[in-house]
Symmetry: none
Subunit: 440 residues, 2 copies
């Protein structure tokens, strides 16, 4: 089976938006062994939508369309497909009734304009949308198309698309997959190691298993490795297990997640899980990150079990007043220094009554850098039950957003290393050392 993806929306033809929904679709196609032969983007234009779908169906049996299912007059995907197939579009009154009832239950009046979202291409099966109002649609097209194309229409809102892919597309593809053939994948996630160091360390894995079945995805402060094994289930399962073991050996304590791609947890949630398992809590004292560390800790449901609270202390005045950082420490060493972040960490820990405290202070830029402390200089400390806290000084590359993101990433890692038995934090070194960007 071959597939093509069409994204509909004038905003995707501008200079500041790219279609990223296709990546979600590509992932599930790959998992199910379906070849993606092309992608396309068109604006909100019935003729253009119909013509493009008409061209794509010449070379694919599965067309996945995102966007253009909303309530406004430039949501025209339904009309475009109907035009191609020579079918009509009409409001599905049963569906409209359900939508109305849902709104009424919430005590909400549904704007009349939303009726458009209950429009169905004649012959389409509606795909319920747990995450929003507009359902998806699946339409078969045995007659006019040479290939008997199947069309899936999805909302363009990423969150709603993901839900519909899981609920409707993936099961549909799974039911059609050839018996037993396919491939398994596992994802390994590593924080705070640079891509070059990860690549260097996994050379033995490449040598033993080849490089076709390992892909490396780099994000700021995090690397994700995808390991793949194909062929019949009986041979690919043990092969994948051997690959996984080899990667674990190569990367050691830096690995914070190994498992299915779809179960992959965020780094902050992995650290939260470690705290939960130990029945311990953490508090934060943030300067240059201004709340991002707290926001990451609390992004996960149930974080109240391990996140006590914190302080956002931008000024020296508040570092003293709220956290009890001694005036002399600030005068002697400055706000961006090891003694200051250690005092911030202890202050947060004591005032929140938590097991650990994290202090961050740095120069996020673009202004505020000096020769001694250029933009990107960040000090991070963790105070815990032991007398001596843990400290890391970094010189992060990139702009303000990048420096802040890496700061919270390394703060999480510094705490994580403290929570792992027998860990020394040694692996934090390689990230900065080759670039001369910090010291532990």
């Amino acid at each position: 089976m071959k597939a093509s993806i069409l994204a509909v929306g004038g905003e995707l033809l501008g200079t500041d938006r790219l279609d990223t929904n296709s990546l979600v679709l590509t992932e599930v196609l790959r998992r199910r062994g379906v070849e993606l032969v092309s992608k396309a983007v068109v604006g909100d234009d019935v003729v253009e939508i119909a013509a493009t779908l008409g061209a794509l169906r010449e070379r694919a049996e599965l067309l996945l369309v995102t966007g253009g299912l909303g309530p406004t007059r430039d949501d025209l995907t339904r009309e475009g497909l109907a035009r191609l197939l020579g079918r009509s579009v009409a409001v599905d009154e049963a569906l409209w009734g359900r939508i109305e009832r849902g709104f009424r239950k919430l005590g909400r009046r549904i704007p009349r304009v939303n009726r458009k979202q209950a429009e169905r291409v004649d012959g389409a099966e509606m795909l319920p949308n747990r995450a929003g109002v507009a359902p998806g649609q699946r339409i078969g097209d045995a007659a006019p198309s040479p290939r008997g194309t199947t069309y899936f229409l999805f909302p363009g809102v990423p969150r709603e698309l993901k839900v519909l892919v899981d609920d409707a597309l993936d099961p549909w593809l799974a039911a059609r997959a050839e018996d037993g053939a396919g491939f398994d994948q596992v994802e390994v996630r590593v924080a705070c190691l640079p891509e070059s160091v990860v690549e260097e360390r996994i050379v033995p894995v490449y040598e033993r298993f080849g490089d076709r079945d390992v892909s490396v995805l780099a994000r700021p402060g995090e690397i994700r490795l995808r390991l793949r094994a194909g062929g019949p289930a009986v041979s690919r399962t043990p092969r994948l297990a051997r690959m996984e073991a080899a990667v674990r050996k190569a990367l050691g304590g830096a690995v914070f997640y190994v498992g299915a791609i779809e179960d992959g947890i965020e780094f902050e949630a992995a650290v939260g899980d470690l705290l939960t398992a130990r029945g311990e809590t953490v508090a934060v004292a943030e300067s240059c990150t201004g709340g991002q560390l707290g926001q990451r800790f609390t992004a996960t449901a149930g974080s109240s079990a391990y996140f006590a609270g914190g302080f956002l202390t931008y000024s020296n005045h508040l570092k003293m007043r709220l956290l009890g950082v001694p005036r002399e420490t600030l005068r002697e060493h400055g706000a961006v220094s090891k003694p200051t972040v250690l005092a911030m960490a202890s202050g947060a820990r004591e005032r929140c009554g938590s097991d650990y405290g994290i202090g961050i202070s740095g120069v996020a830029g673009p202004g505020g850098g000096t020769e001694e402390r250029p933009v990107g200089t960040v000090h991070i400390a963790v105070a815990g039950p032991a007398a001596a806290g843990s400290h890391f000084e970094a010189r992060f590359p990139g702009d303000r957003a990048r420096v802040r993101q890496l700061s919270t990433q390394f703060a999480l890692e510094l705490l994580r290393r403290m929570l792992l038995p027998g860990e020394t934090g040694r692996d934090l070194l390689p990230w900065s050392a080759p670039r001369g960007e910090g010291s532990a």
Copy 2:
């Protein structure tokens, strides 16, 4: 003139790369007043390239192709276009001679495989590449295409593409542009109004100017309207000004930005600018948002001018201890209540010595909801120099991330309304009222 863009390359059909070259091409098309009608991506396959170009030329007179001009056997763009046009591809010996001489001058032997890069589609004009080996090509196609399509072939390496766009495409477009023709755009940004309300209010704009030149981009808690006016400069400039005035009138105080798309500022920065202009500061006290509000305030460089600091108080204990929320308030009204967030806001304001304080407390979910306070219930308060603070209660839809994002968005809006002269916060109502989600 209408244009389409095709990116060639199997790597662009995977899960971790997107075609970004098209943004460079889109920008120059926009500048020269050429309408982009579609974009496409195909793999390294002659048949697929030829078929896609064949479909695209039905609806565009200008086809811009990137990638597939390299020396390897899967660089097939030249072959694909030649197949479509029924022409041949042959090494341009004069060009090959120049390439060889260039390499020799650098003291390098050129690999034989590079001869492929001197291949020319019969009838094409070669476009010299100052930044690399592979030249671009321009081919006219008067005969077989209904529209007399012109094809540009560009290398996929971004740096080389940019040079060729400047050297070859832009001058070609400039020479063809109708005198002064083109279009202008302006973006209007609005926070905390639902899309349906915005659509309803701008009906008069649609009625007066049509709906083709207005596009609506919805994000969580923010709507961006793009207004376009085309034609000769002498008429489009006043037309755009009239559209802008009509939209401003329709949306009133909800508008926080009007201007060029590329200058558009984030909502939190717009609020920061208001504070800066007044020489005032703000502090935060966050419960369910856990630091996100502080992180948004401090995302902008120079935010220390208006952001004092804050408190992350997840537990009742810390709300009392750090913010001075009275025990009786929590006992009588609960943590998610108007009196509690008002006390949090005042506590943050006093302890940080700022002009304003913002308190947020809510049920972000997925757990923790009750019948009285279901998931999505959020109370927000702003305390300021005036005796009575401002308060907003919402019942936000969506998951934890959405509830938290909307909470900080509405907190920013509640403060912004307080900073605008003569504003009552009345416009905050429509967002929630039709859905029964809150009261001001």
